[in-house]
């Protein structure tokens, strides 16, 4: 018994560590979004600010670091991503549905082959799907001789929709297959028997039944498209989606604006998940009540008609939320007290850094002089190296997303 107790405790610790590992980085990243420093960090905490959600800042070396609200590259990428997501949903969901339907109608040998082919795309590395789409359509575009084919073949958005639909259709397919397995085929026959033609059966019986699966595959398809990078980075050609913008930003140097973007996404995800979960629970509860009622109606067993639990039951999670809110308010108050929030704080730290920077510059100059005098190599300057382009790619700077206005970028 003793050893079992110990085992349980160990398991508990393990699970805690696991979840800490899973969430820790995300939490820390979220917090860095509020630090006014231009390097996303917690420990040298400058000031609490929302600047990375809004305007960003002009760095002390004159660089403009855009915030979330002012970064037009992100905005354009977002719009492209939304377009692609919509296109993928429109393409992948009908494809997945049709494949799932046909799977129920083919038999034995053919069925295995059909199924294997359908799930193949998720076993292909994403980069390969992107590449193969691009090379094929480049060829088509060349042969198209300037017509529609050429236009489509050189359109990054179109290619990305095709490439993503290739494997996202499989996700939809799998969702539909799971739902169809529970479909009672005699319903279709009953409808036929009652005089419906096949098209009517499809729209009046099958589609309503598949509706929940259609809805969830739309969501899944959209999300999968939205967050895809590996395929998109090849097929998007000269356009930019949200993910490729993020990628090029991250490669250039890490800015808290990305943290703030991540936080926004995390919050959206959290909200959607919580709403979904609450709805689901409510549904479950309703179903249970209905079942109990039906059972009661059938058996008229009064024991089953339990008195409904009276009074307002407060879910335990409320306490957790309250606790978090209280801590946040308390911490914020402390910060205001200590003068770590607001423009004065930012101005102060800015000034300090500027003088630091001037010192450093002087030091560097001195070093450089020394170095030239001694004609010997000087060690690299800490961080700088890893922020350089990873591939030594000269094109990378075209991706630089820091500028505020388009005019600046056009030169």
């Amino acid at each position: 018994m003793k050893s079992q107790q110990a085992l349980k405790i160990l398991l508990g610790i393990y699970i805690f560590i696991f979840f800490a590992y899973l969430f820790g980085p995300l939490v820390i990243m979220s917090i860095t979004a509020f630090n006014s420093a231009e390097f996303p960090s917690i420990t040298p905490w400058e000031c609490f600010s929302f600047r990375w959600f809004n305007e960003g800042k002009i760095a002390y070396d004159g660089q403009h670091l855009a915030g979330l609200a002012t970064d037009w590259r992100l905005h354009e990428g977002l719009i492209t991503s939304l377009k692609i997501g919509l296109g993928v949903v429109l393409l992948a969901v009908p494809i997945g549905l049709s494949a799932a339907l046909v799977l129920t109608q083919v038999h034995s040998r053919l069925r295995t082959a059909f199924y294997s082919l359908s799930i193949m795309p998720v076993l292909f590395p994403g980069v390969i799907i992107g590449i193969s789409t691009v090379v094929l359509w480049d060829r088509i575009a060349t042969m198209g001789g300037g017509g529609l084919a050429t236009e489509l073949g050189r359109n990054g958005i179109f290619l990305t929709i095709l490439a993503q639909a290739c494997f996202i259709s499989t996700y939809c397919f799998l969702i539909f297959v799971a739902r169809l397995q529970r479909f009672d085929q005699t319903q279709e026959e009953a409808a036929l028997d009652l005089g419906a033609n096949q098209t009517q059966v499809f729209f009046k019986i099958l589609i309503p039944y598949m509706m929940p699966a259609i809805a969830s595959s739309c969501v899944i398809a959209f999300l999968a498209s939205f967050e895809n990078y590996n395929t998109t980075v090849f097929s998007i050609l000269s356009d930019q989606t949200l993910t490729t913008v993020i990628a090029s930003k991250v490669r250039l140097g890490i800015s808290p604006a990305i943290s703030s973007l991540a936080l926004v996404i995390i919050l959206i995800t959290l909200t959607v998940t919580i709403i979904y979960e609450v709805l689901r629970r409510r549904e479950d509860k309703k179903k249970k009540e209905l079942e109990a009622e039906a059972l009661f109606a059938q058996t008229l067993d009064s024991r089953l008609k339990k008195a409904k639990t009276k009074g307002l039951k407060i879910p335990k999670s409320i306490f957790g939320i309250l606790f978090v809110v209280v801590v946040c308010i308390f911490g914020f108050n402390k910060m205001v007290e200590k003068g770590m929030y607001g423009s004065t704080c930012i101005a102060a730290s800015e000034k300090e850094k500027k003088s630091n920077f001037a010192d450093q510059l002087k030091l560097l100059q001195k070093n450089a002089e020394k170095a030239s005098q001694q004609s010997s190599e000087n060690g690299d300057v800490g961080e700088k190296k890893e922020f350089d382009s990873i591939f030594g790619d000269p094109n990378l700077f075209k991706d630089f997303g820091g500028f505020d206005s388009k005019t600046q970028d056009q030169d």
Binding site: I95, V127, Y229, T243, E386
Partner: protein, 303 residues
């Protein structure tokens, strides 16, 4: 075929046939075949394709193995090295993930109460929906030279100088592990969930030790889940691009980055295609291997 039309009616049959053939032929088969074909072609401007210069050649595969003719090396140590490094690390990460996730999956599937399990699953899904790039970015913040971990260690006095995690590839490997961990948990969980709890209790009753119970009962039962999880994690790790882009050090390459380079920077598409074919064949071999080892069907791997 006549039966098919009878069953679905003319309108729906047409839709089904068009949708499926579009998917199979235009999205899956032709692009792959064309890429395969292209990998045997010389690198010439696309206008010359189909011309007299467009002959079959093995030059790109040769380059992968032996390097360019001008280099003095007898083998292409760089590319082949990257290739094997990628495979090795992907396998290691898969195994680590398996060990790491097994207890969690088991806990959620068989130990936790239904409500707790549900809560845990939901909280597992949340980070999964956040972009891989952003998750890698979070790790980048932790591992950067002036990042959270270094600062924390410095403050605690455990180290004197910052550790360059990124150059040491620690960041990359952690990131790859972090990125696909959930794709290991869910197949394992799904497989274990169907295990009858009575079997576990019976085994315990018969005096089987906990380890033995797992090896004799749980693992055989979760076989398909293990195969599925391992395949997914391996494929995604070996084919990862987002995480290496964010977290790899300037002098470490992931194999996908080589492909990317041939494609976008050096504009040598046929060579990129050849490297892609190499990656694809490894993936196919790996899937077949998993199917063999675990004696599962392909349908059990992908769910």
């Amino acid at each position: 075929m006549k039966y098919f039309f009878n069953k679905n009616g003319p309108l729906i049959s047409t839709y089904l046939i068009i949708a499926i053939s579009f998917w199979f032929v235009f999205l899956i088969i032709i692009p792959q075949l064309y890429m395969f074909d292209l990998s045997f072609r010389p690198n010439i401007p696309s206008l010359l394709r189909g011309g007299p210069d467009d002959v079959y050649t093995l030059i790109h595969y040769k380059h992968f193995l032996f390097g360019s003719q001008t280099s003095g090396e007898s083998y292409n140590y760089v590319d082949v090295g990257v290739f094997f490094n990628t495979l090795l690390i992907a396998i290691l990460i898969t195994l680590i993930n398996l060990c790491f996730c097994y207890p969690i999956a088991f806990y959620i599937a068989k130990v936790a109460s239904p409500n707790t399990a549900r809560l845990l699953i939901v909280s597992l899904i949340i980070p999964f929906w956040i972009n891989e790039l952003l998750r890698s970015f979070a790790l980048r913040i932790l591992f950067a030279g002036e990042g959270f971990i270094n600062n924390a260690l410095l403050k605690l006095g455990l180290i004197d100088n910052g550790i360059n995690f990124i150059a040491m590839d620690v960041a990359l490997y952690t990131g790859l592990n972090y990125a696909y961990i959930l794709l290991m948990i869910f197949p394992l969980y799904n497989a274990m969930e169907t295990l009858d709890k009575n079997q576990l209790e019976a085994a315990e009753d018969l005096g089987s030790s906990m380890l033995k119970t797992h090896f004799r009962i749980v693992i055989p039962h979760a076989k398909a889940g293990i195969a599925s999880g391992c395949t997914m994690v391996f494929m995604l790790t070996a084919g990862a691009l987002a995480t290496p882009v964010v977290l790899s050090s300037p002098n470490t390459f992931w194999f996908t980055q080589l492909i990317y380079q041939w494609f976008n920077m050096n504009d040598n598409w046929p060579r990129g295609a050849a490297y892609s074919v190499v990656l694809l064949s490894v993936s196919v071999v790996f899937v077949l291997l998993m199917m063999r080892i675990f004696k599962v069907k392909i349908g059990e791997i992908v769910r």
